[in-house]
Amino acid sequence: MAGELLIQVIDIGQFRAIRPALDEVKAGRALGLESRTVLREAAASPFPRGDLNFAGLLARILRHPELELRVFLAQHDLDAVIEGVVHVLCFENGAEFSLTTLVGPSWVVLDSAFGAFMDLDWFRALFLNAALESESSGLPYPRRFDLGYRVLRREDVARMVVGLRPLLDDPAVAFHVQEAAQGIARLAARALSREELTLAHTSLL
């Protein structure tokens, strides 16, 4: 197995909008009014209910606006809040994905199909070389150790759509590769449907 790559649609406009709030959470000081509004919005979304740790952390922060976060929370708590806020406010379906259903409505996990995609020049250029050559494609949040998300430029998403076409129609392509290609094509179409959307990818290893 060459590795596992998760591809999802991200609202990069929303990410830019909440970035100051994420910076404030990272700093661990008392949050300003606008940052608390962002956290309240995250708490009101349906997704935190499935993550008791995240929901509990949001409730604790919002219950004590007067306190500096670093007094009652640890670094891993702040990281969990940042990750949860980005997931629920910037990704579709709260960034949900599955390792058993590799192609879902808002995600594609390249697992056994990863090797086949790595044989494609355009895929390596967009997902591997671009990531190595450009620090700017990396999202500053969330980050866990060296792992984080990278985002594609919209022109790269369009280039990817062209690159995927031969895989979609070729009967010689293995079923699981074709299924992954169809899933990515669907995510790409969704990403290109609105100016503020694009694709984000991260390693699951």
């Binding site: 740790n53 952390l57 409730a59 604790r60 306190l67 670093r70 007094v71 640890a74 150790f145 060296d146």
Partner: protein, 138 residues
């Protein structure tokens, strides 16, 4: 002079944070030891700013995942709890969360590192009024 010292402590804490993120745990522990000494000297041993330094230090030790480092983290957790009791006097629910965190620190894998202390913490937790027990968020 004190301002310079605090800036240095903050810089060391940021470097330690990056070191933890890169799994350079020995570096992180060294940096945090230095940051704590600076804060103790310039702010006093009871200053609430020491809480963050201790939290980062505890995090670095926990990632080492060794019984000895877990016990060291629990000892630092005791000191952090004492500071939090003062800093969170108006937020009893958060003191409760801190008690639970300390109990977690005394647990390494399935073992209790200090069962007598765990009993004390359990009793303190049980004696807290319902309103002060807060919401378990960690």
């Amino acid at each position: 002079m004190e301002e310079e010292a605090l800036q240095k402590a903050e810089r060391l804490e940021r470097e330690a944070h990056d070191a933890i993120a890169e799994f350079r745990l020995e570096d992180a522990v060294r940096l945090l030891g230095e940051a704590l000494a600076i804060r103790e000297a310039s702010q006093s041993k009871g200053h609430p700013d020491l809480i963050w330094t201790l939290s980062l230090w505890i995090e670095a030790l926990r990632w080492k995942h060794q019984p000895e480092s877990a016990l060291e983290a629990a000892n630092l957790g005791e000191r952090r709890l004492a500071l939090r009791r003062a800093a969170l006097a108006g937020a009893p629910d958060e003191v409760t969360c801190s008690l639970r965190e300390l109990m977690d620190l005394y647990t390494f894998e399935d073992d209790m590192l200090d069962s007598r202390r765990m009993d004390e913490l359990r009793r303190e937790l049980a004696a807290l009024p319902e309103t002060g027990r807060g919401e378990q968020g960690t």
